[in-house]
């Protein structure tokens, strides 16, 4: 176990360094930068000399490898630099915007899991074949719906038409309902799809016949024998879907006007605010690494065969 952890942490460090380097190079390769975008604005009336001075102030005139080294060194010390656009350090910017996004994303994930589970069970247990087929085709539909459209439609229907969820001065809970649903549906769809397929597959396994021959009830067989075996592929996919969750948060926050990481990402992209983008990339990479580490640690708890070192069964 400790060996696994040590090697995974080593891998994580390499992944983070690669993510940092790749995003740094890509952001540098873009034409123009945040300083030009902000200060070249004719309304400011700055001369090229003055702009050049500002560039020196931000350290933007240094050779690229010096900038790379400086930025990396600052990141390692936990300092993510300055946002040119907002004129503030990135750290407090993240500190205020991270919690709403975390709350949105985690609620979205929980709701997605609940929807996926309910849908998969309904699709497996429904009494009629046509109903099962209908339910099984739902996830494909849910995947095809774009998040921004879904968000707008939900506001239209539930807030404007039905007036079920107020959008003016909502309570904290009310403000979360629609964004969470918007975010969770596209995540729930692939989860449900995998779970349906995996439940189907496990139900044909020989040990399920054995459980039935033992005289175990249907619910017993499904709950104890089928579900646990069917969870593993779902867990793996859930790790991968973390990226989907982030991308969804960007759109959802923009549509619903929530201040969060997604919102500042969107702004930073349009202003080419390199320092902010760099910080967000690293944050996302850390999130990915942690989620997948968690998945790897939980998987052997579900399937003990994963604990066996390779070759021991020969």
């Amino acid at each position: 176990m400790t060996r696994l952890l040590v090697s995974r942490i080593g891998q994580a460090a390499i992944v983070l360094l690669l993510a940092f380097t790749a995003s740094f190079l890509l952001l540098q390769a873009l034409p123009g930068d945040a300083i030009l975008i902000k200060y070249q604005n004719p309304e400011m009336g700055l001369t090229p000399e003055q702009i050049a001075e500002i560039r020196v102030l931000y350290g933007a005139d240094a050779p690229i490898w010096v900038q790379y080294g400086n930025t990396l060194w600052n990141f390692l010390q936990g300092s993510f630099g300055y946002s040119v656009q907002a004129g503030v350090p990135v750290n407090p910017l993240l500190a205020t915007n991270l919690p709403p996004t975390l709350r949105l994303a985690s609620l979205g994930l929980v709701v997605a899991v609940i929807i996926a589970g309910a849908l998969a069970f309904a699709a497996t247990l429904a009494p009629f074949a046509w109903l099962r087929n209908l339910l099984q085709s739902l996830p494909a539909l849910m995947i095809s719906v774009p998040v921004f459209w879904l968000g707008i439609m939900l506001i239209q229907i539930f807030s404007f038409r039905l007036r079920l969820v107020p959008i003016i001065n909502p309570s904290e809970f009310q403000a979360l309902i629609l964004p969470v649903v918007t975010l969770s549906l596209p995540i729930a769809a692939p989860l449900a799809q995998i779970l349906i397929r995996s439940l189907d597959e496990v139900q044909t396994q020989p040990f399920v016949s054995v459980a039935r021959a033992k005289g175990a009830s249907r619910a017993w067989v499904l709950w104890r024998h089928v579900l646990r075996n069917a969870l593993l592929p779902v867990l793996t996919i859930a790790g991968v879907l973390f990226g989907e969750l982030l991308a969804g948060a960007v759109v959802t926050e923009t549509v619903f006007g929530i201040n969060g990481l997604g919102r500042i990402t969107e702004q930073a992209v349009s202003n080419q605010d390199t320092a902010v983008l760099q910080a967000i990339v690293i944050l996302a990479a850390v999130g990915f690494v942690l989620i997948n580490l968690l998945v790897d640690l939980v998987a052997p708890l579900i399937d003990p065969r994963l604990n066996t070192p390779i070759g021991a069964s020969a």
Partner: protein, 537 residues
């Protein structure tokens, strides 16, 4: 026989598939009494398991559909009782064990949990179940019962898993035990132990035993009565002795005739030139010794059998010779040249001369390739026969040689039966005109009647084309029919070698003696004699 413990009457089951309705069983009737063993004998696809699955209510419906019939247990028709009533009988009154206990045990729960489940699923308290489980695990011969409770299925050997499955089935002291191919996946010595255990337990509890099998030897060893099934119907019923000596139905006669181990034993042509020789081959995987100083020689036209149980290293031997696996030390000389140090180009040439046929043709034939592509691929690899017309003619010729129609060339593997697939694999091996064919359990996955045909085909190829065979097998009957020389392996070492007649008639090493004693004879009288002879030892 209305006082039978369990009686199946005129049962008919259809399977509705995309390609139409299949009558899986038609008007099948059988019964079993207390303390009696009924064998249901049949080959794959005969429907031998279907009626038992109907008894247990574990047929998947759809696609299965019970068309008619009755299943009587304790005065009630199990096909008419409610799901709940049937469920309450399962495990408690009628229990079942299966082939290949690895896939039939849930991989994510401990063995203890699954054995205890037999009682908790019926609402019995867990601590009582645990005590009973410990008692039964000891009874079926697992050494450390307490530790076994906490282990997972993959941590046991095949034989141990089957014992645990038997323990599980007996938890609620059922009246009837249905065993579906309980020993098919096991080595012969383990098979003998498991069958003996079943007999003992039956004597203790007086339960009725229904044993589903394809193996005449198992029938001869354990059954009181037997029904023979073919294509969904019972074609013959009686005592094993009656059936063996006075079979009426042509199918039964064919089945008995195909049983291996009854032919004349071949003699070795000692003057033939040496083809392959291994010297002190060694191979270890970590702690595990797969090969230890294995030396053998094979002459042109010879069929050398390597016999041993699982884990004896016989497949590793074949793979090391072909360099599909790197041996740790030793030599393998092919016509005097060491295969193990050969450079890549020479190795390619050698690979043409030595071909391999694997155990499972379903896995060894690429499902996306047509028969023509499968057979001709070797010519692409070795840049032979560029002319397409010639290739097509040769593929047709090869197909005929292995007893298949030339027009099958355009078909894909899934369109063939298991036996036909193995013929395709043999045609593929023959395409490169090899001098040696290594058969790794090449007939063990096949039904006996198909097995006999494939063995006859290989024998014919040997006689006509002078091909030598390295024949790896665990089935002694097949080996006796096919090989002229036998090498017996145990734990990576050769423990005995000699002409086939000598190994079978006068085995010297205790392990060989044990193997032969455990091998079941399809003739009930012979098997009874062997049992008596083997009993004191």
């Amino acid at each position: 026989m209305s006082n039978a413990l369990l009686e199946v009457r005129n049962l008919s089951v259809d399977f509705h598939t995309a390609r139409g309705t299949v009558h899986a069983v038609k008007n099948v009737s059988w019964s079993v009494n207390r303390g009696e063993t009924l064998a249901i004998l049949g080959e794959s696809g005969s429907g031998k398991s279907v009626s038992a699955s109907a008894v247990m209510n574990i047929l998947d419906m759809p696609p299965a559909h019970i068309v008619g019939g009755e299943i009587f247990y304790d005065g009630q028709d199990l096909l008419k009782v409610s799901y709940e009533t049937h469920r309450a009988l399962n495990g408690k009154k009628i229990a079942m064990i299966f082939q290949d206990p690895l896939s039939h045990l849930n991989p994510v729960y401990t063995v203890g949990w699954q054995i205890v489940e037999m009682m908790t699923a019926h609402g019995r308290p867990a601590d009582m179940a645990r005590a009973r489980a410990l008692e039964l695990i000891k009874r079926v011969g697992i050494a450390d019962a307490e530790a076994a409770l906490h282990k997972y299925p993959h941590q046991f050997s095949g034989g141990q898993r089957q014992r645990l499955m038997i323990a599980m089935a007996l938890m609620l002291k059922p009246d009837i035990l249905i065993a579906d191919e309980p020993t098919t996946a096991l080595d012969v010595t383990i098979q003998a132990d498991v069958l003996a255990l079943l007999k003992e337990l039956q004597a203790e509890t007086g339960m009725g035993l229904v044993l589903i099998t394809h193996d005449l030897g198992v029938v001869a060893e354990i059954a009181d009565r037997v029904v023979v099934m073919s294509k969904g119907e019972i074609v013959e019923a009686g005592t094993p002795r009656d059936i063996y000596h006075n079979a009426q139905h042509p199918y039964t006669r064919q089945l008995i005739g195909a049983a291996p181990g009854k032919g004349t034993i071949k003699l070795l042509d000692a003057d033939a030139p040496l083809l392959l020789e291994t010297r002190k081959l060694c191979k270890t995987y970590g702690e595990f010794t797969a090969l230890k100083d294995v030396s053998l020689s094979l002459h042109r036209g010879q069929s050398l059998a390597v016999v041993g149980e699982s884990g004896s290293g016989k497949s590793t031997l074949a793979r090391s010779i072909l360099r599909l696996e790197a041996a740790d030390s030793g030599e393998a000389l092919w016509k005097g040249r060491n295969l193990l140090t050969m450079n890549a180009r020479d190795l390619l040439g050698m690979r043409r001369e030595i071909q391999m046929v694997f155990q499972d043709p379903t896995q060894s034939l690429n499902p996306r390739m047509s028969v023509y592509q499968l057979i001709s691929e070797g010519w692409d690899i070795h840049r032979l026969m560029p002319d397409k017309a010639k290739r097509q003619a040769r593929v047709a010729e090869l197909l005929e040689q292995v007893g298949l129609a030339p027009e099958y060339a355009a078909r894909y593997p899934h369109q063939f039966s298991g036996g036909q697939r193995q013929r395709i694999a043999i045609a593929r091996a023959l395409a490169l005109e090899p001098e040696l064919i290594i058969c790794d359990e090449a007939v063990s996955a096949l039904d006996v009647s198909i097995q006999a045909q494939v063995i006859a085909l290989l024998d014919d190829l040997r006689a006509r084309l002078g091909i030598s065979f390295l024949f790896i097998a665990h089935d002694l009957g097949v080996v006796r029919d096919f090989a002229d020389t036998v090498v017996v392996m145990k734990a990576g070492e050769i423990v005995e070698r000699g002409p086939t007649a000598q190994i079978f008639d006068a085995p010297r090493h205790p392990y060989t003696q044990r193997l032969l004693a455990a091998n079941l004879d399809p003739d009930p009288d012979m098997q009874a004699q062997r049992r008596l002879a083997g009993a004191p030892a």
